[in-house]
């Protein structure tokens, strides 16, 4: 190591998480306002076309969605989850949380960030397709026997340019039976 007269202070690294909340605002500034992320339009269209009028939205990044919201899950006809923090739950925790949401409201629109799933690297004890994206749907379907799981995601190889950290990429409509 090169010699120095300065005092060296070794410090722990900072945490990337603090950036996450501002991703959409930061990225929006790179463009003019003539565009909209398609998956956000998809959420608005789903809510409008299925006549949901009381949406409880839990989010991390402000997505500026146009919809009628309510303050409480118990007043909602649809729970919308775009908060990617839930994707960082263990798999079993995601299923527990989905079950809890379905108890509070029978209709759930769940967005998951594929890149965080199974974040704690736990062994998965159910048979799943080898391909990751169908495997996510299969895992949800098999883990939620008392619900209908509809995969409304778009399949593509994510190379980091798809705004996934603005709005998670895997979209599911889940209805309690």
């Amino acid at each position: 190591m090169k010699e120095t007269t300065k005092q060296i202070e070794v410090i722990p690294s900072s945490n990337l998480y603090k950036w996450a909340k501002n991703f959409k605002r930061v990225q929006d500034r790179f463009f003019d306002n003539q565009y909209k992320i398609r998956r956000l339009q998809q959420i608005e269209d789903f809510i409008y076309l299925n006549n949901f009028n009381k949406v409880y939205h839990e989010y991390e990044v402000d997505l500026e969605l146009e919809m009628s919201t309510v303050e409480s899950k118990s007043d909602a006809d649809l729970i919308l989850i775009t908060h990617q923090g839930y994707s960082r739950y263990p798999l079993s925790g995601i299923i527990e949380k989905v079950s809890q949401w379905l108890e509070e409201c029978p209709n759930l629109y769940l967005c998951l960030n594929r890149h965080y799933l199974n974040i704690d690297n736990k062994k998965v004890d159910i048979d799943l397709p080898d391909s990751f994206l169908p495997a996510i749907t299969s895992w949800l379907t098999q883990s939620l026997p008392n619900a209908v799981v509809v995969d409304i995601s778009r399949n593509y190889v994510d190379r980091g340019s798809h705004f996934t950290w603005v709005c998670p990429d895997r979209h599911y409509y889940i209805k309690k039976i």
Partner: protein, 240 residues
């Protein structure tokens, strides 16, 4: 107002006047380089040098000779590393660190620095991410600049690699690292692969929402030696 629906960055042009591009690129560069913050802290400080703790481990394990830091904001360690070469892929770096070498593609490395380095460091380089399964092709290019016996310090994050996350991820990345011996004569001499440990908060069904450990350096850390397997790292500097 009708707005174009886009899927990804490439679907719509960014604001393209020169000042905006420079500003955007600096922000984008900084978003992916937490270590740049150390540069900002160190450059005007006449008394102290701040070093991130995993970089401290690397500094104390470098072999004598030439060191390349690729895509890792290595310029912040300029006062502590002899014969340092900083290579980045973002032109914007030239603006604040004129000594940086800028390359567009890793294939340029061999022409610029054939058989040159005794140490090669790639520390959570965003440009190395978004590959399928693991960054093998990048490793092949790095070795083309390295002396026999050189060290390659390589760390990255699992969350930005394209792979099936339902498999055993520890095995996946360890097997990849070991496979490089046959692919490009890189011998794995040390690794630290860590994943988040999730526990319930209180008695309900909430968990912490934190990322995998060490978002600065990556939760997958490896040290390789090129064409040899005889280097002993000093682990007393590792606080993993």
């Amino acid at each position: 107002m009708t707005r174009k629906l886009i899927e990804c960055f490439d679907d719509y042009p960014m604001i393209n006047n020169k000042d905006e591009i420079t500003r955007h690129n600096y922000i984008r560069y900084r978003l992916g380089r937490l270590k740049h913050e150390f540069w900002l802290k160190n450059r005007k400080n006449k008394e102290k040098i701040y070093v991130e703790e995993y970089d401290w481990f690397i500094l104390n394990n470098l072999k004598p000779g030439n060191t390349c830091m690729f895509g890792s904001a290595g310029y912040y360690l300029e006062d502590l590393i002899e014969n340092l070469t900083v290579v980045e892929t973002w032109n914007v770096v030239k603006g604040f660190y004129p000594k940086a070498h800028i390359v567009k593609h890793r294939q340029e490395l061999e022409k610029l620095f054939p058989n040159t380095f005794d140490n090669f460091v790639v520390n959570n380089n965003r440009g190395d991410h978004w590959v399928v399964d693991a960054p093998t092709e990048h490793m092949i290019e790095y070795t083309k600049t390295m002396h026999d016996g050189a060290l390659l310090f390589y760390s990255f994050r699992d969350t930005q690699i394209v792979f099936n996350r339902f498999i055993d991820q520890y095995e996946h990345f360890l097997n990849w690292a070991k496979s490089l011996e046959k692919v490009c004569d890189l011998h794995l001499i040390w690794h630290d692969i860590k994943f988040a440990k999730k526990q319930k908060i209180s008695n309900n069904i909430e968990y912490d929402i934190m990322e995998n450990p060490d978002t600065s350096n990556g939760n997958l850390k490896f040290v390789f030696q090129y064409k040899r397997n005889d280097y002993k790292l000093d682990m007393s500097y590792y606080n993993g």
